[in-house]
Symmetry: C2
Subunit: 242 residues, 2 copies
């Protein structure tokens, strides 16, 4: 490892449904083999038409109960995206999404929506989104890259959000150190590093939230391989922190 | 923001108590103003003599109870570093440290210890460690940098560890977007980004765990300021995820 470079993707227009994100990536940077392209979930979702209008949502009884003065239509959108509600302190809702991710509002977000009154939802299958982008990038550029779809998640016990990986393609999301030994011969048991989440967080450092930088390219990593962001979802039985 | 570079610190010897880490940093890279130097807790702790020998630990009754076949002296070290035990599934212990961090084994680690039979503890005051390093780097190099002391933490709901910030100096650990607006005028309320944790994770990407790379320099960030890693510890009342 000599150096890791994190190059912001600049000069993007507002993304709309049907836009070719791979073409936008290829238009803003000259890709190299083994680059990792990190893209914010928001642009991936928008390109896939994963937006809803508040006015098209009919709040259920439960949405009204959870809303407590906030717009119940927004809560309705959250409930529709949720497998279960984990915690609720109105108007905040922590939910488990159908992908198994646990996050605020089941990932439903009104910031950076195409228009006021619209909500952006998470991709239906972020791994598949990443895989399609990867394939299309190979087609357009001839380069074999990794792709990570990122989003900002809060977490227990620590303030602030960090970006994590919702979907991956062409990389191993977990680096498993089991069986490797440190300098003194101590075996590093049970140690897995969530490199896909660290990639997402590193990309966030150049993305900002309001400056319209939708992603970044990481150059200098050596983590090509196969994997799914589902590997980052830990089962309750294995999760000592839960 | 044009580009973020993450430069590994290479060629370090095994760190011992009393070693001048700032001199080691300055010896492996030409620093620039506004660089952020991320150093693994392990080398910071070793330089500060924060190691204990297993043979010097007399396990308490509680340590024996929690050990269940593992070495009770290791559990004793963990209990001494803990403000409280959060969860326990022997031989694993999740604890809150005296700093307020919640992590496996209260940060006590036997990997990468100076010798077999030794345990490395977290620094007593990681912010102070970072501040001393920052001051000494200014003295040695004339450069004004930020410093982050990092460690690998597990987290609820997601597999694997990511590096987070235990101590900071010369940077703002949280980027507060409150009051800023996105492109459609939507105000980004309550949005704080834990940039110090993202810096730690980004640095980890070039550090590895067994290759003896003790840290990295991040070049191209614009986050100079004042702050404490204690800002990253969220109070139970504010923590909807807990």
């Amino acid at each position: 490892m000599t150096e890791l470079r994190i190059l912001p993707l600049l000069g993007w227009p507002e993304v709309r449904e049907g836009d070719d994100l791979a073409a936008l990536v290829a238009g803003s940077i000259e890709l190299e083999d083994r680059d990792v392209v990190a893209l914010a979930q928001k642009v991936v979702s928008k390109s896939e038409g994963r937006v809803v209008r508040l006015e098209d949502l009919e709040p259920s009884k439960r949405a009204h109960e959870l809303a407590e003065g906030e717009d119940p239509r927004r809560i309705e959108a959250i409930l529709r995206e949720s497998a279960r509600v984990v915690r609720s302190r109105p108007p905040l809702v922590i939910a488990e999404t159908r992908h198994g991710f646990i996050c605020a509002s089941a990932g439903v977000d009104s910031s950076n929506a195409p228009d006021a009154g619209m909500l952006v939802l998470l991709p239906v299958d972020p791994d598949a989104s990443a895989a399609r982008l990867r394939e299309r990038l190979l087609e357009l550029t001839g380069r074999t890259v990794g792709v990570v779809v990122t989003d900002s998640f809060g977490r227990p016990w620590r303030a602030g959000t960090t970006d994590v990986a919702l979907g991956v393609a062409g990389i191993r999301p977990l680096l498993d150190l089991a069986g490797r030994r440190d300098r003194t011969g101590y075996e590093l048991r049970h140690t897995q590093i969530a490199v896909a989440d660290e990639i997402a967080g590193a990309a966030e450092l150049v993305m900002g939230k309001v400056d319209g930088v939708p992603g970044a390219v990481l150059r200098g990593l050596d983590i090509a391989g196969e994997g799914s962001a589902q590997e980052l979802v830990i089962s309750p039985e294995r999760d000592l922190f839960r």
